[in-house]
């Protein structure tokens, strides 16, 4: 391994492998976090300005979301080890690290989507009601339809923060660019690795943000 580090082709291989792992973890966690839609919709519906205001449901769900969001990711990672083992059969490795990433992404999506949906012009919702739309139709055809650009913004936000979290996934053998930066770059004082990893991450984040902005513009 040490030999490989000194050679550029070795570095390339390591980086390529790490990049694959990062992309794999981040995108799978992002896709799985779609579950967050359910609490997002419930929060939107039961909010004081929602279609079915319900203080108790809203407050309880809101509290749960806050609890999960307040865990530092590294702690969540450790706490979830038994759960991860139950789900994927093992607690370490790239696939295993998707579990804590997803668990942290769900409340994130719930909150970000809630605020995106609730930004929908209440007048438009009233208009839909005045034409006899059902609550379900209003959610699909008004809330979601009108919020698409904001939802995309939320997903971009999620992807970028998951890229950051995925660095910590190295603790459970998740791998990825961030992990390389910590282990090779920081812990082994290998500045070259630190710089390369940082540059890759910067480009990666920029790219995601650019795609997101482009989509936002196109869809709004």
């Amino acid at each position: 391994m040490l030999l490989a580090i000194s050679s550029t082709t070795g570095m390339q291989q390591i980086m390529l492998e790490a990049l694959k792992q990062t992309v794999y973890m981040v995108f799978l966690a992002t896709i799985l976090s779609v579950i967050g839609l359910i609490p997002a919709v419930i929060l939107t519906l039961t909010a004081p300005d929602g279609l079915r205001p319900h203080k108790i449901i809203y407050e309880i769900l809101s509290f749960i979301v806050n609890v999960f969001r307040s865990f530092p990711f590294i702690i969540l990672l450790v706490i979830l080890i038994p759960f991860t083992r139950l789900l994927v059969g093992k607690a370490i490795g790239t696939t295993a690290s998707i579990v804590p990433l997803t668990v942290s992404a769900i409340p994130f999506i719930a909150r970000v989507f809630e605020s995106a949906l609730r930004e929908t012009n209440p007048g438009v919702i009233e208009a839909a009601r005045s034409f006899g739309a059902s609550d379900f139709q209003i959610i699909v055809r008004v809330y979601f339809k009108e919020s698409v650009p904001r939802l995309i913004n939320g997903i971009v936000l999620l992807i970028i923060s998951l890229i950051g979290y995925s660095a910590m996934a190295g603790t459970v053998g998740g791998g990825g660019i961030g992990d390389i930066a910590i282990r090779y770059g920081y812990q082994q004082y290998n500045t070259e690795y630190l710089i390369v990893c940082s540059v890759i991450l910067i480009i990666f984040v920029q790219l995601i943000q650019m795609i997101g902005n482009g989509l936002y513009k196109k869809l709004s």
């Binding site: 007048g123 009233e126 339809k145």
Partner: protein, 325 residues
């Protein structure tokens, strides 16, 4: 026919509607006017169940408006188009898609040739055929309200509810929108309920009007009856007419031209001057266009000695008058 009987509504402690009763006949353009906070919009929202009410009854074509009965309220809403002050179009849909949207809510096909024809016809009716594929943000306020009108008609309603629909528009555009509303009232026989705080709206299109103040109905009647010679101080101050400075000498007589008596058919004032051989000063006057009829009032300052002759003459001619000080 919309029948509102003793309708009450409160938000917590605050009573916003106090025992309101009125009837809106088929085919008429009915105005509900008053200052902001008078309860006008709330009353309008009670008609199609966007708001619930706490007492009394509202019926639309003998069907009770009951928010808890989801099915019947849906049917009532289908029969009532609504337009709003803020237009309330979906920003991400084109003009065409916005107009088509209510059809989707009712599970009706929007891609059949008939449906397409219908949607395009409505867009044509409001004069926006060139903008059919534009998004709302490319449109002006007046154009947005036209789209909203087309959308409100797509389910073939018998009623059109207008909630301050022209309040965000400048006077010229307001006139355009009102003439579209008038046109569809005539062409499609729609019953129109207009909530507004703008006198111009009432004057231009409303056949009957109710004046609301603090959740109560002060008067109801033809606009020319309600507003040319208002008895209520509140309405006078709404019309800002109580600040006129009058001469202190002689007698000030206000003559009303409200479609009643001889003032409707002959030049009463000049005839009076000639027949009685009296002189007077006209010190204040206001003539307004009510649905293309000119109504108004003027104040004459007459000599004390001519008072009896003039007032008798006016009474004989059946003209409304009032001595004011």
């Amino acid at each position: 026919m919309i029948k509102i009987e003793n309708v009450k509504k409160s938000f917590g402690e605050l009573e916003v509607l106090k025992e309101i009763s009125l009837t809106i006949n088929d085919g008429e353009i009915y105005g509900i006017i008053g200052r902001s906070g008078a309860g006008k919009s709330t009353l309008l929202r009670c008609i199609n169940g966007l708001e619930d009410y706490n007492g009394g009854t509202i019926t639309v074509d003998d069907q009770l408006v009951n928010v808890k009965d989801k099915k019947s309220i849906k049917e009532i809403r289908r029969n009532m188009g609504m337009i709003f002050q803020g237009f309330n179009l979906l920003e991400r849909l084109t003009v065409y898609e916005n107009v088509a949207l209510p059809l989707r809510f009712w599970g009706l096909k929007t891609n059949t040739p008939e449906a397409k024809e219908k949607i395009l016809n409505l867009i044509r009716l409001v004069g926006l055929e060139e903008k059919a594929n534009a998004k709302p943000r490319e449109l002006s306020g007046g154009q947005k309200q036209r789209v909203a009108i087309a959308r409100s008609l797509v389910l073939d309603p018998q009623y059109l509810l207008c909630d301050e629909a022209t309040s965000a528009l400048d006077p010229e555009i307001t006139k355009e929108i009102l003439s579209i509303i008038q046109r569809i009232n005539k062409k499609l026989g729609l019953t129109v309920v207009i909530v507004t705080h703008q006198m111009e709206v009432v004057k231009q299109v409303c056949e009957r009007v109710a004046y609301l103040s603090n959740g109560q109905m002060l008067v109801e009647g033809k606009p020319e009856e309600v507003f040319i010679k208002p008895a209520e101080q509140e309405i006078k101050s709404f019309l800002k007419e109580d600040s006129t400075k009058l001469p202190e000498e002689g007698v000030n007589v206000q003559v009303f031209f409200n479609g009643k008596g001889s003032s409707a058919t002959e030049p009463v004032i000049s005839k009076m001057a000639r027949e009685l051989e009296v002189d007077f000063n006209i010190i204040w006057g206001k003539l307004e266009d009510f649905r293309h009829n000119v109504y108004g009032s003027l104040v004459m300052n007459i000599a004390e000695k001519d008072k009896d002759a003039i007032l008798t003459y006016l009474t004989d001619k059946n003209v409304d008058w009032e001595v004011i000080s």
